[in-house]
């Protein structure tokens, strides 16, 4: 009997996680380069109340037994790395990846993180940085007297300097990819970190070997669809409600059983 209470509690817990994930997705519906998460559920182990093969008479056995499930658990909250819509901004340092790949970002402690958010800026030294001021890796410095910055589909950054007709190449932005994008750890601030589950990063060149194209003057918007998330929110809430009814019912039945003894 107590089992039924705990079973329903696991259901409520799981749906709470689901709502947490959905709320975070909805909060980031306007975040550049944001990738939605999805909570995946699995049933818990089953307990045999009657073993299959238990004798039902001298010559017959129970063919299937009785299994009682013990509820549900959150198996994974995975990031879904589908492409977000590209939005034209006209800003020459806004870069969007159209397809596979991540920007490499050097964090203040010197370690690398990875990002899809290409709203880049220049710092006081003319270096290419993210909106948090983290350096893009490999580092690219734009000379102070540059008149225009061009970023090609392959990530080559060139600048036009006064007095020269031909643009000067100042560096190339290189992307990485992982065997399992879903295994990346989301660090907040639009950054991801390599984990054992993601595998080691593979460095490549934009628009080659399956890497995406780099589009200058565009930003990749969040891949969250409001309609989808709101529908998920409704089902999560109803599932939560259903499990809570399970608890109320179990409680009522327990109380009736206890009241047998007056």
């Amino acid at each position: 009997m107590i089992r039924a209470l705990y079973t329903s509690a696991t259901g409520m817990n799981a749906q709470e996680t689901n709502i947490d994930v959905i709320s975070n997705n909805l909060a980031n519906v306007n975040t550049t380069g944001f990738k939605k998460s999805r909570a995946d559920f699995q049933d818990l182990m089953y307990q045999y109340v009657v073993e299959p093969g238990a004798p039902t008479s001298q010559s017959t056995v129970n063919p299937s037994g009785i299994q009682v499930g013990l509820g549900v658990k959150t198996a994974a909250v995975q990031k879904v790395f589908t492409q977000g819509d590209l939005v034209s901004t006209g800003n020459q340092l806004d870069l969007a990846i159209e397809g596979d790949g991540f920007f490499q970002v050097t964090r203040p402690d010197g370690t690398l993180a990875y990002s899809r958010a290409g709203a880049l800026q220049l710092n006081q030294n003319g270096e290419l940085v993210t909106s948090d001021g983290y350096l893009i890796s490999p580092g690219i410095t734009v000379p102070a007297d540059s008149q225009g910055i061009t970023v090609g589909k392959d990530g080559i950054v060139s600048v036009k300097q006064p007095g020269t007709a031909v643009p000067t190449q100042v560096g190339q932005i290189t992307p990485v990819r992982f065997p399992n994008n879903g295994g990346l750890r989301a660090m907040g601030y639009n950054l991801y970190e390599e984990t054992q589950a993601s595998g080691a990063p593979v460095i490549g060149i934009f628009s080659q070997q399956g890497f995406g194209n780099l589009s200058q003057g565009f930003l990749e918007s969040s891949n969250v669809s409001v309609v989808e998330q709101v529908v998920n929110m409704i089902t999560a809430q109803r599932a939560y409600e259903a499990s809570s009814k399970g608890i109320t019912t179990a409680d009522e039945m327990l109380s009736q059983a206890i009241n047998l003894k007056r």
Binding site: T7, S8, G69
Partner: protein
């Protein structure tokens, strides 16, 4: 004791068990690929319970008490009907079109079968379930290198136009020979007949949701709790009769 008392108690225990199973169904109302369980007995009604008897296991029972009423033939079966298919747009999601088909998963305990097609890749690039077990392809594990991998409607996994593997799909003509194990997976009961390998029929970028319906789940909950209430009322009534018998009958007038 009155045989009615035993009948009410045994039916009460049966309905508690029923509630446990129904609550597990409700907890998994949002679990991809979940199949609900149904508990049935030979006697679903009280008069049937009263009429049904089993041999008492009390060796000292009096001759008229060797048979006690009991709910018999309690069986849990799994409803393998298909759940609703939801489009997710995630290229590594797959839903099976035939309700008797299953994906094959390699677990340390041997092959397991599942309807939950929410797959992902692990650090080695293999196609795995959300808890990391390999998905069985035609030739062992499915290795995905490179971006843009997608499962297609014939069950093959394509990466940049190249087929890198094909899902192994099996069909159980009689899925009742499957038993639940954790992780929304099933295993073959000992003595169950091996499934046949079939041509995959897959709905790509979609998931089969739980086949638990909220309406049926709630209706079941109400019937179970009301039935339980009725049995406890019956038990209380029998108890009152016994109290009366003990205190009133044979009362000595002083």
């Amino acid at each position: 004791m009155d045989i009615g008392w035993y009948a009410a108690a045994s039916a009460g225990v049966y309905h508690m068990q029923k509630l446990e199973i129904q609550n597990n169904n409700l907890a998994n109302i949002n679990t991809v690929g979940f199949k609900r369980q149904i508990l049935t007995a030979d006697q679903e009604k009280f008069d049937q319970t009263l009429a049904a008897t089993v041999a008492s296991d009390d060796p000292y029972a009096a001759a008229d008490q060797v048979q006690v009423p009991n709910v018999t033939g309690v069986k849990a079966r799994t409803d393998f009907s298909a759940g609703p298919i939801k489009n997710t747009g995630n290229p590594l999601d797959a839903a099976l079109k035939n309700a008797k088909d299953f994906f094959v998963i390699n677990t340390p305990q041997g092959p397991a079968y599942t309807r939950a097609g929410n797959f992902t890749r692990n650090a080695n690039g293999e196609l795995v379930t959300q808890d990391g077990f390999q998905v069985q392809g035609d030739g062992g594990a499915i290795q995905i290198n490179g971006p843009g991998a997608a499962i297609t409607s014939d069950g093959s996994i394509r990466v940049q136009g190249q087929t890198v593997g094909r899902l192994q799909i099996v069909r159980f003509e009689d899925p009742s020979s499957l038993e639940h194990i954790e992780g929304t997976r099933f295993k073959l009961t000992s003595g169950g007949s091996q499934p046949a390998q079939v041509e995959p029929m897959v709905e790509p970028a979609a998931l089969e949701m739980s086949n638990v319906s909220a309406i049926v789940g709630m209706a079941d909950l109400i019937t179970t709790s009301r039935a339980f209430e009725a049995y406890t009322k019956a038990a209380t009534a029998i108890d009152s009769l016994n109290t009366l018998a003990i205190t009133q009958i044979g009362r000595r007038s002083s």
